[in-house]
């Protein structure tokens, strides 16, 4: 390949000479090079342009590909080639311009293949001013084989169609553009006419003639980030895995794109839900329908009312009882002053005692035994005590023990059993006869990720027998509890007073960050509902807000989430 290249470089001056002398000679060269000549509709000059430019372009293209280690025999020529080329690049714009002018003069235009070439050069705008000039001689119509009008040189004359001169900017621009496009450069012509033309100038014809893209090419969103990700992945895990990932991703994208590409699979309903659904406006409000016999508002002007419905009667509908009204309080006992209470107690005790005495008098009950103690032993028993003092003392002591035991037993009997005690405690903690409805509290917490607080939130709710949920989303956490008045109050104290939210963040350095707002918990709403919406207390970890809202929507209370999200201090 290197050899070939060197040969070509050698041939450049020769070619130049050949081009200037005769066309036949050139044709041989071009055939030898294996280049295809363009369709021969054009004149000789047009034919010659193709091979020349292509040949002269070849070294320029090939140069960067030249290896450094060239063989010494060919080194000189190669170096010579290189030496010429840099000098060529600077004047080529002027050269092209000249070529364009020349071409324009010759009426050499409207070849779509060459049209874009002009646009490659910034200075070429001057050429479009050169309006197509018509020969001053008497018009002679010449036609070529295809029936096109040609001039005396055999060049095709392209007559601009005379159209209505439009003053619209759009049309002017369009015309301008058309005028702009029709001119094509004639490198060959310039090379012919200008003795100083340097064909080693490096005008890359293929590059110049690359068809202009008619539309913008936008970079798809996420393309570069994807690429960057890929590179990162590659540096992390190596080539093979990166390839695998790429495969996976492309498959995923394909799978994703596939249903979209099939128009039959696009659900019509999907698009409808995206746009905001508006309530439809009925023809007639349903409550107006029975009054209007025609069923539309049209005859309002005629004032034809359905007098069967407009009557003189007043309806008395069934009154509906409120859903959660506490029972009226039981009648309160008569309130007595302290003095009255004491008096009543005395009277009651006296009456009881009198009753007892009466019964004893009538012999209905046994009179109580005299209470014998060691101190009054001699007084009560007198001489009896002296007969067997040991026995009597024993008796007295056992009687005393029995009395004491009876006292203890009475006290024990009065005590509640463990089950009853448990029940009473429970009643105290959870029972509330006055509230039939369920109280709900909604708390909003910035960060509930700390395991300790999460545990507290969860376990306290369960131990207070509250139902609800704690939904942990990335930015915000919402805790909803519902239950009786007392447990909800206790839980509120836990959330708003007992837990130190500012300290409850997962990593300590974040806590010390003063610029970030401190973690906090606010009571968003507290109110009552007819019955609880949740069955138990659960902690949900949600990845997105939509998922979090779904937790609430499933329970039928999406408004809790909405409110908590929309609640902010700045509203206040």
């Amino acid at each position: 390949m290197q050899k070939e290249l060197a040969e070509k470089l050698k041939k450049i001056p020769m070619l130049n000479k050949a081009a200037s002398t005769s066309t036949e000679n050139f044709k041989v060269v071009s055939d030898k090079d294996g280049l295809k000549s363009p369709p021969s509709g054009l004149g000789a000059q047009a034919v010659s342009t193709g091979p020349l430019t292509s040949v002269s372009a070849t070294p320029v293209q090939a140069m960067p590909g030249l290896p450094v280690g060239v063989t010494p025999s060919e080194k000189a020529s190669a170096a010579g080639g290189i030496g010429i080329l840099p000098g060529l690049t600077t004047p080529n714009i002027e050269a092209v311009k000249r070529a364009q002018e020349l071409a324009a003069k010759m009426g050499f235009r409207q070849d779509p293949e060459f049209a874009p070439l002009i646009n490659m050069f910034p200075g070429s705008s001057s050429t479009d001013v050169a309006a197509p000039q018509r020969p001053a001689k008497a018009p002679v119509l010449r036609l070529d084989a295809q029936g096109r009008e040609i001039d005396e040189y055999g060049n095709v004359i392209n007559m601009p169609k005379l159209t209505n001169l439009s003053t619209l900017k759009v049309n002017i621009n369009k015309q301008k553009k058309e005028a702009f496009q029709i001119i094509k450069p004639d490198l060959d012509a310039s090379a012919q006419s200008n003795p100083y033309f340097d064909e080693g100038m490096g005008i890359n014809k293929t590059k110049l003639l690359r068809p202009k893209r008619m539309t913008f090419q936008f970079v798809e969103e996420g393309k570069w980030s994807k690429e960057a990700e890929m590179i990162k992945f590659k540096s992390q895990f190596g080539e093979a895995q990166a390839k695998e990932l790429k495969m996976k991703q492309s498959q995923l994208a394909k799978a994703k794109a596939d249903p979209d590409s099939n128009p039959n699979l696009i659900a019509v309903g999907v698009r409808l839900t995206k746009e905001k659904k508006k309530e439809e406006i009925p023809e007639i409000e349903w409550w107006d329908k029975p009054i209007l016999p025609s069923g539309s508002y049209d005859d309002v002007a005629n004032v034809k009312l359905n007098m069967d419905r407009i009557t003189i009667y007043i309806e008395h509908p069934l009154p509906i009882e409120p859903p959660a009204e506490p029972a009226p309080p039981p009648p309160q006992p008569l309130k007595l002053t302290k003095k009255e209470q004491k008096k009543l107690r005395t009277q009651r005790r006296l009456a009881k005692e009198r009753d007892r005495q009466e019964m004893i008098r009538q012999g209905l009950i046994e009179p109580p035994k005299p209470k014998i103690k060691m101190s009054n032993l001699m007084k009560v028993l007198g001489s009896e005590a002296t007969q067997d003092p040991t026995k009597l003392e024993m008796e007295i002591r056992s009687a005393a023990a029995e009395r004491e035991q009876a006292h203890v037993d009475r006290n024990i009997a009065r005590k509640l059993t463990p089950a009853e005690r448990r029940e009473k405690k429970e009643r105290r903690l959870f029972d509330d006869p006055n509230t039939l409805e369920t109280l709900v509290s909604v708390y909003k917490i910035k960060d509930l990720s700390h395991p300790q607080t999460r545990f507290k939130v969860d376990v306290n709710a369960q131990e207070n027998r509250l139902t609800g949920c704690a939904v942990i989303s990335d930015g915000v956490s919402v805790v909803v509890v519902e239950g009786g008045r007392k447990p909800v109050k206790r839980y509120g104290k836990l959330m708003l007073k007992r837990i130190n939210w500012a300290a409850a963040v997962t990593n300590e350095d974040e806590a010390e960050d003063s610029d970030a707002p401190a973690n906090s918990c606010v009571l968003v709403w507290q109110g009552s509902v007819a019955k609880p919406s949740f069955n138990r207390f659960l902690v949900h970890q949600c990845r997105s807000e939509a998922a979090a809202r779904k937790v609430f929507a499933d329970a039928g209370v999406p408004h809790y989430w909405d409110l908590a999200i929309n609640y902010s201090e700045e509203l206040l």
Partner: protein, 532 residues
């Protein structure tokens, strides 16, 4: 203890067969034997009964039913005697506990009912009462309680003397005939409301179809503007807590009612007192300006509503309610006034004649709030039965009953768009009801205390405002029901609020006796944002 003692004591003489039965006062001081097994005790007692037959201390012991031993005559007599004594004692106790009328006439009446002579010769009140007592005790003992009870019932029935000739429970719903004026008013309302409904529907349709109108953008703009509500002015309204407020239809006047019974009218841009309306004997509970002309109505706890001119002269008083009034509302035509009362009814009055057109029952508890549909076709009432009822004023039917609130509903408002109804309740929620779908559209957990008043913005209903006893009022978007602005400034319960016709100003009144005016300060902010 008392029951147990005689048993142990009675068994104590048994082990000592030789001992003489001692006197009642002095039982033998003997070592207390361990209580014998029941069977043993029984036999021992039987033996003892046979042995010392003259003992009269046997009665309290349970008697064996078996006749495997004969009982001596004396013992039997003694036992009977004792039983009789016990009976007497119990009877006496019961007599003491029995409720006997103390009034002499009641005693005589009771005696007559029982078929006894109402008085004996030389008998005084106390003796008569004692006689009644003894008779009652005897009857009670004979098991003639029913007779007694019947006598008692008769007495009660005679006392109440109510005819109460109802044949079973009332069948609901039932209908009663109203007055001719009511029929005329219904026809009038029908004509009025149908025209309004037609124009409203047509307008909504036109707005929906018109490509130049963007309802969403307009709503968003209005809501954004509502986010700029800020305290404009605060004025002490009265010496007592304020209960209600209302803007006049052109927004140039504001009326406030207070617990002193006085209603005051204030000129609007700067709140200056124009007139004082004195006339109510009790606290005034609400005030409402007429939607068409410059007159206003006040409701009061003295069971009347009054209609006033703005110069402070009384036009008319509407008497008829049986209990204190709560809220009042004008019909959009301005010809009728609705009043809600604690006598479980709401009534509709003719403004011009002052007649009571309609007395509407239907709530099982007191009615607190009332509101009219912008068309004038419907009325909504709410009350302490946690219910909002929608009534068709033309047909007189209760067409909807919205159940959903848990606690009393205190405020309600129709949206100007004609199919939304907002209710605020003691359960701290505000519910939005859809009249067309006949169900709850949204529940707003709104405040931390009860919601005393709800009002839609009267122009298009793009936002609504709620007043609450948590000392705040809040503005909510009516599209997505998100909080837009909290109007915090009052120091006590906010009892009522009103919005001007153009939706630019909100007035709130509170138990802290101040009127606060909130104005939208959005314009400057908007411009600033535009520069950005």
């Amino acid at each position: 203890m008392e029951e147990d003692e005689p048993q142990t004591l009675s068994s104590s003489p048994a082990p000592g067969p030789g001992s003489v039965p001692p006197a009642v006062a002095a039982p033998p001081i003997a070592p207390i034997p361990p209580p014998p097994a029941p069977a043993l005790l029984l036999r021992a007692r039987a033996v003892a009964a046979r042995a010392d037959s003259d003992s009269d201390r046997e009665g309290s012991a349970p008697r064996p039913s078996a006749d495997d031993y004969e009982v001596s005559e004396e013992s039997r007599l003694a036992r009977e005697r004792q039983e009789k004594a016990v009976q007497e004692l119990l009877m006496k106790r019961r007599a003491y506990a029995m409720a006997v009328p103390t009034n002499d006439s009641a005693v005589r009446a009771r005696l007559r009912r029982l078929g006894e002579p109402i008085t004996l010769f030389g008998e005084r009140e106390m003796e008569r009462r004692d006689r009644l007592r003894s008779i009652m005790v005897r009857l009670d003992a004979e098991g003639q309680l029913e007779r007694l009870l019947k006598a008692h019932e008769d007495e009660q029935a005679a006392a109440s003397a109510a005819p109460a000739e109802e044949e079973g429970p009332q069948q609901y719903p039932f209908y009663t005939e109203g007055s001719q004026e009511l029929l005329q008013a219904r026809i009038d309302i029908a004509r009025y409301s149908l025209a309004r409904a037609k124009s409203r529907i047509e307008r909504a349709r036109r707005r929906r179809d018109d490509p130049d109108e963007d309802e969403d953008a307009e709503a968003e703009f209005v809501v954004n503007q509502a986010g700029g509500f800020a305290l404009e002015c605060s004025e002490i309204g009265d010496d007592r807590p304020l209960s209600g407020c209302s803007f006049s239809h052109d927004g140039t006047m504001l009326a406030t009612s207070s617990w002193s019974g006085v209603t005051k009218i204030w000129s609007m841009p700067k709140v200056e007192k124009v007139a004082t309306l004195k006339g109510h004997m009790e606290r005034a509970t609400d005030v409402a300006f007429s939607p068409v002309d410059n007159c206003l109505a006040t409701a009061s706890a003295d069971r009347t509503a009054k209609l006033w001119n703005i110069d402070g002269s009384l036009i008319r008083s509407f008497d008829g309610h049986l209990d204190r009034l709560a809220r009042i509302a004008f019909h959009p035509s301005g010809k009728y006034l609705g009043t809600a009362s604690f006598d479980k009814t709401w009534r509709m009055w003719d403004i011009n004649t002052g007649t009571e057109l309609l007395l509407q029952e239907g709530h099982s508890r007191s009615v607190y709030g009332i509101c009219f549909h912008p068309d004038g076709s419907l009325a909504a009432s709410c009350g302490l039965d946690a219910l909002a009822r929608v009534w068709d004023l033309r047909t007189g039917r209760s067409i909807l009953a919205f159940e959903g609130h848990v606690k009393p509903v205190l405020g309600l408002s129709f949206s100007p768009n004609g199919y939304r109804l907002a209710t605020g309740s003691e359960d701290n929620t505000c519910r939005i009801w859809d009249l067309r779908k006949r169900k709850c559209a949204y529940t707003m957990p709104a405040h931390s205390h009860l919601i005393s008043q709800v009002k839609f913005e009267p122009q298009e209903g793009y936002f609504l405002a709620t007043a609450s006893y948590d000392t705040k009022a809040m503005v909510w978007s009516a599209q997505d029901f998100k909080p837009v602005k909290t109007l915090a400034g009052h120091e006590a319960k906010v009892t009522s609020l009103d919005i001007t016709g153009d939706g630019q100003q909100i007035a709130t009144v509170s138990h802290d006796r101040t009127i606060k005016i909130w104005t939208s300060r959005f314009n400057e902010k908007d411009k600033a944002m535009d520069i950005d």
